[in-house]
């Protein structure tokens, strides 16, 4: 945000903050390491607000759970903003010094009265008001979010609505404050850092805007960098459907099971002229491939770095040899380059990293392998070898006069999910994660665990009673796009009208056959969090065979 592609704060800061808005995140299950830092913060006296349609395991730790309607996040944020402004709690000095666009923002949120907020979100007005005022009054406060914010058709607007709250109250650029998207994997951040996103060069240098960077990096690489953004994943899939994109090289990703509206995705993959999948295990996507390149698992069978949610770049070291036939990923890529006529030699991970430092000197210039080793990781940016790394970002916004560009307020408006429940599909399905499984189960489905209970349809006691469903009954879940079957699990944390599933068991219960293929034009993220379904009982629980413990997946 404000030009930096990462969360603003260190883990340590959540331990020392006063108020945390945990928005659209069941971090207790999905980000357990980060949640441990939050628990320390709670122990130190932080007040926790969990904003989530479900009363999740995270919400069970909250001082206040605000159970908004799915997809009403902007309405809630804007209503809070209006309350803060009307209570005179906007940080006017900070706004004047560090931001731009406040007047139009104030005008835009003016229509988000408490009455409207309650109507749009379902959260009672007094609760919205109390949360707004406590957030604004806190000395230190943070907004943290995950996919509950970003897996919507208006993902970027949702994020901007939250950033607006931090700007409004001056809760950014200071210790213990900030805006933090929690990363779901150890190196989601690192992928972005290295430029594996369609609109950025390494170190978040913009492809379209930053001619100087294109020129400079192109010179280093000996190529001319074209000035247009590439496709994001959603755009790729659409381009594949249109037969504009006919060849695909997939590294460590399983779109055949992880993306929305799977029928569509699988058709697109099947229609490719050439699909190369580089993977550590055989996945559903790899089954569509023309060539499968067995790769070493970089987290233990190779060298490199990863970047975590607090922007800390950490060394990864090889501790075991890969199994026979699996190759180091750098070797694979260099070899492909060589056969395509570009001799990159056989670079080591450190050599690649040093090239990255040269390409993005302001970002990573000071992060030599030796320093990463000595300091136990460094938080970017770290421009030179005397720089300790940044614990939090955007401190410059507090300098008077301000350095650099002002941070912009963004005018964003309530825009509910594309598909809403109706008489035909009366329930709203939202998706997420559970503790014991990881994404499509490629890495977690292969071993037995007493926690692996398989997939279920989580449903409120009220809906279950209405539909005559008992705990454990096999039910069929149908949307306009597909249908799946799963046992029902009655969940007190759900209210009537909302059901919940995960994507963890795509072989048994391909949930994404149900989800809707609409995505945010700005980020490409699909609206996994909301689609309309209906549920019918298939077999009573007494006749259902107990679910398999774990799934029989070949992990070699």
């Amino acid at each position: 945000m404000f030009g930096a592609g990462g969360g603003t704060s260190s883990f340590r800061e959540v331990e020392e903050t006063d108020v945390v808005l945990l928005w659209g995140s069941n971090a207790r299950l999905a980000h357990p390491i980060w949640f441990h830092h939050l628990l320390k913060g709670i122990r130190n006296g932080a007040r926790l607000y969990v904003i989530d349609p479900r009363r999740t395991e995270s919400a069970q730790w909250a001082d206040v759970w605000m159970g908004l309607h799915v997809g009403s996040d902007i309405a809630l944020a804007n209503t809070m903003a209006r309350e803060i402004i009307h209570a005179g709690l906007a940080d006017e000095q900070f706004i004047a010094n560090a931001t731009e666009g406040f007047d139009s923002y104030r005008a835009a949120v003016e229509s988000y009265t408490l009455e409207f907020g309650e109507l749009a979100t379902g959260v009672p007005a007094d609760v919205i008001r109390e949360a707004a005022l406590n957030f604004a009054r806190a000395d230190k406060a943070m907004v943290c979010w995950t996919l509950g914010i970003t897996e919507h058709h208006n993902a970027v607007d949702n994020v901007l609505a939250l950033i607006n709250l931090a700007l409004l109250t001056g809760h950014v650029g200071r210790w213990g404050c900030g805006c933090n998207p929690l990363r779901g994997q150890n190196n989601v951040q690192g992928g972005g850092d290295m430029g594996a996103i369609p609109n950025k060069l390494p170190g978040f240098q913009d492809i379209e805007q930053d001619a100087e960077a294109r020129e400079r990096i192109g010179r280093l690489w000996g190529v001319t960098i074209q000035p247009d953004n590439g496709y994001n994943l959603t755009q790729m899939l659409h381009a594949m459907s249109r037969r504009e994109l006919t060849s695909l090289y997939v590294i460590g990703e399983n779109p055949a099971q992880s993306d929305a509206d799977l029928h569509h995705v699988q058709d697109a993959l099947a229609g490719l002229d050439h699909l190369v999948v580089q993977e550590i295990v055989m996945t559903k996507t790899a089954e569509y491939a023309h060539v499968v390149l067995p790769a070493a698992a970089t987290w233990c069978e190779g060298e490199g770095t990863v970047t975590n949610s607090e922007r800390r770049v950490q060394r990864v070291k090889k501790v075991v040899e890969p199994p026979a036939g699996a190759r180091d990923e750098l070797w694979v890529m260099s070899e492909i380059a060589r056969r395509l006529g570009h001799d990159w030699g056989t670079p080591t991970a450190e050599e690649v990293w040093n090239e990255f430092r040269a390409v993005a000197p302001h970002f990573a210039g000071g992060m030599s392998y030796a320093r990463l080793e000595a300091l136990g990781g460094i938080q970017w940016p770290c421009p030179d070898e005397s720089h300790p790394g940044e614990t939090f970002l955007h401190g410059r916004l507090w300098e008077v006069p301000r350095r650099g560009r002002p941070a912009p307020f963004s005018v964003v408006h309530h825009d509910p999910p594309v598909e809403r429940p109706d008489s035909e599909f009366p329930l709203l399905l939202t998706t997420g994660r559970r503790l014991e499984s990881f994404n499509t189960g490629v890495q977690t489905g292969g071993y037995a665990s007493p926690l692996h209970n398989g997939e279920s349809l989580d449903i409120s006691p009220e809906d279950a009673a209405h539909l005559g469903i008992d705990d454990g009954d096999l039910v069929r879940i149908e949307s306009r796009r597909g249908k799946v079957e799963a046992p029902a699990r009655i969940d007190d944390g759900l209210r009537a009208g909302v059901v919940f599933m995960t994507l963890h068991f795509p072989d048994e219960v391909p949930t994404n056959l149900l989800t809707i293929d609409v995505s945010d034009p700005k980020s490409g993220t699909a609206e996994f969090k909301a689609c309309a379904v209906r549920v019918v009982r298939v077999i009573p629980s007494t006749q259902v065979t107990p679910p398999l413990i774990g799934s029989a997946r070949d992990t070699n």
């Binding site: 069970q60 730790w61 001082d63 759970w65 605000m66 959260v123 009220e462």
Partner: protein, 629 residues
């Protein structure tokens, strides 16, 4: 808190018992019915306000126990819903305390003491007769097991009930809408059998067994003379003069006098009270807590019960002075669960004091704020250990903490805490009024003031006797009237189960901290248990070993395993089925005992071998010549 709920529902009785303590549920998220529109979108359960309720867990479980006689799965689940405690943790607490049952029990349970003092008074014969008249004792059924409950009442064996002056003793508990508990002395098998068939346990009068002329006593001077339920009588006999004086003096001066008095703790550890108070007073962290340890469970000890039953206002006043001096505005009085009358009298005294503005806000209209509440134990000796007591108040299993940090730095709820024994505090008003120097003039230079001795066992007049430090064992024995006629002294147990035996030829030992230390024994909690030649000493030692095995919290290995090994070896000796001969068994006892003493976390394990060791080394009870192995 990642809670998986218990699925069983509570009965109406169980719900009512818990709601009477906690008030009705606030929402569907803390045990109320589902269905409100607000609950579908808001919860205030689970955050700091809910976590702050954790210390209500033990009182809530006690409320269930008192109402229905045991803690069912549905009842436990409801308590856990109300307090947002994981059922596994609630279960952990419920199964920790002996007075809480997790399998069905009849409404009336009679707990019959078979501990050392009652043994000396013939408890074994009473129990044998009871067994033949009323059938076997109810054992602690495996937790959660479904036992059939027949008859109107059941009886159980109990460790020391703190009624050693009126041994043999029993505790009657009646569960129900109007629960009732009675601590009975001088019980017979007939009386117990009647009780099991529903006889009314008539309310015993407070029977302070104090047999001393009041001229000689300080701490006991009101006991048996002044109505313990009358604040007016208390004030008419000098009550609350000390608090007024303390407020005049100011906290620093009060602590200076306490330090000058050289008062040390009377619970057993003998730590200087003034130093403890000063350390807490100086802590910048707030709040400070005052805890009065009235979990008097050391076998043979009953002095704190006598003080609380007989002079409750004195303890209220003393705690108020202590709170004022150390900067505490909130206190806790933790009374062992087996003391119903002490609880009633203290509860009454607190209510009276609050009504007269002697507790709460603006005490004596002098701007002093202090109040305290009573927490009742539930049958766990270990909770007399100060950090285990904190855990118990906090709603957890009573497992001692590692030290440091010490309570003065991080005690109850992690805050600086003064923890004092009842008798220790009882000395405070006198010190404030007469001055530390005057207090220090009594006793010896190193052991100042008077001490309460719990004289029990085979003496003419068991009871609490107050004597200046330096009085000999012989004198104390004579104060209690000496032995029964025709008996010969076999041993004296000083300090209770955690203390040591001394021989009949050691009666001139002066009862001071320094003399007992030099003689490798202890004053402990002031127990002077007299054992004559009619008593099977090895049987007594075995009972002590069984006591420690039963009361070990099981947290640390040396104690958990050591107390079992110790009892097993003593059993083998008692049955003449030693392994490798008597000398080998004694050597094993020594090895296990040293391991427990050196490596246990708390005083329980550290002293679990003390009495056994003194029986071996001092009484030479296990010398090869005396027994064929």
């Amino acid at each position: 808190m990642d809670i998986r709920r218990v699925e069983s529902d509570p009965t109406d009785d169980e719900r009512a018992a818990v709601d009477a303590l906690l008030g009705p549920p606030s929402s569907a998220w803390d045990g109320g019915p589902r269905g409100s529109q607000r609950d579908a979108h808001v919860s205030h359960v689970g955050g700091r306000d809910t976590r702050a309720l954790r210390d209500r867990l033990l009182p809530a479980l006690q409320a269930l126990q008192a109402r229905v006689g045991w803690i069912s799965e549905g009842g436990l689940g409801y308590v856990c819903d109300r307090l947002n405690v994981p059922p596994a943790e609630g279960w952990g607490v419920a199964t920790f305390y002996a007075l809480l049952a997790t399998s069905p029990r009849p409404r009336r349970v009679v707990h019959v003491c078979d501990d050392i003092a009652c043994k000396c008074a013939g408890a074994d014969a009473v129990i044998a007769a009871l067994e033949s008249a009323a059938g076997p004792a109810l054992h602690h059924a495996p937790h959660g097991s479904h036992v059939t409950v027949a008859g109107r009442g059941a009886w159980m064996r109990s460790p020391c009930l703190g009624m050693c002056d009126q041994a043999p003793a029993a505790l009657v508990t009646d569960a129900g809408e109007h629960p009732r508990e009675r601590l009975l002395g001088q019980v017979t098998a007939d009386r117990l059998t009647d009780l099991l068939s529903g006889a009314d346990p008539d309310r015993p009068a407070a029977r302070p067994s104090v047999h001393q002329p009041s001229a000689q006593v300080q701490l006991l001077r009101r006991i048996g003379k002044v109505d313990p339920t009358s604040l007016d009588e208390y004030r008419a006999t000098g009550g609350y003069r000390a608090l007024e004086r303390a407020i005049d003096m100011g906290p620093e001066a009060v602590i200076a006098e306490v330090t000058a008095s050289k008062l040390v703790g009377r619970g057993g550890a003998a730590f200087p009270t003034g130093r403890k108070w000063e350390a807490v007073r100086a802590q910048p962290v707030r709040p400070h807590y005052l805890v009065c340890n009235a979990d008097e469970s050391e076998p043979g000890t009953f002095k704190d019960r006598v003080l609380m039953e007989g002079d409750p206002f004195a303890l209220v006043e003393a705690m108020t002075i202590a709170g004022f001096a150390t900067g505490c505005e909130q206190g806790y009085l933790y009374i062992r669960g087996e003391y119903p009358l002490a609880f009633e009298h203290m509860q009454h005294a607190i209510e009276q004091a609050r009504r007269r503005r002697l507790l709460g806000g603006n005490i004596l209209e002098r701007g002093v704020f202090f109040d305290f509440e009573i927490r009742r134990g539930a049958g766990a000796y270990i909770c007399g250990e100060e950090t285990a007591l904190f855990e118990s108040i906090e709603g957890k299993r009573g497992e001692p903490r590692n030290k440091p940090p010490f309570p003065v730095n991080a005690g109850l709820f992690g805050k600086p805490t003064v923890v004092n024994n009842v008798e220790t505090l009882a000395n405070i008003p006198g010190i404030v009024l007469e001055g530390g120097a005057a207090f220090g003039a009594v006793g010896t230079p190193q052991s100042t003031g008077t001490r309460l001795f719990c004289v029990c066992g085979n003496v003419q007049r068991p009871g609490v006797y107050e004597a200046a430090f330096g009085t000999t064992v012989r004198t104390v024995l004579e104060m209690a009237g000496g032995l029964l006629s025709g008996r010969r002294l076999a041993a004296v147990l000083l300090g209770g189960a955690a203390g040591t035996f001394v021989r009949p030829d050691e009666l001139d030992l002066k009862l001071t901290h320094e003399d007992t230390r030099a003689a490798a024994t202890t004053l402990g909690s002031g127990v002077v248990m007299v054992i004559d030649d009619t008593i099977d000493l090895q049987d007594l030692v075995l009972r002590i070993a069984a006591f420690f095995r039963d009361e070990s919290c099981g947290q640390c290995v040396p104690c958990r395993v050591g107390t079992v090994r110790q009892e097993e070896a003593l059993h083998r000796i008692a049955r003449s089925r030693t392994r490798g001969g008597l000398a080998m068994e004694v050597a094993l006892l020594e090895d296990v005992g040293v391991a427990m003493r050196d490596a246990s976390i708390c005083g329980l394990g550290q002293t679990a071998y003390a009495a056994v060791e003194s029986a071996i080394k001092r009484l030479r009870l296990y010398d090869p010549g005396d027994q064929v192995s």
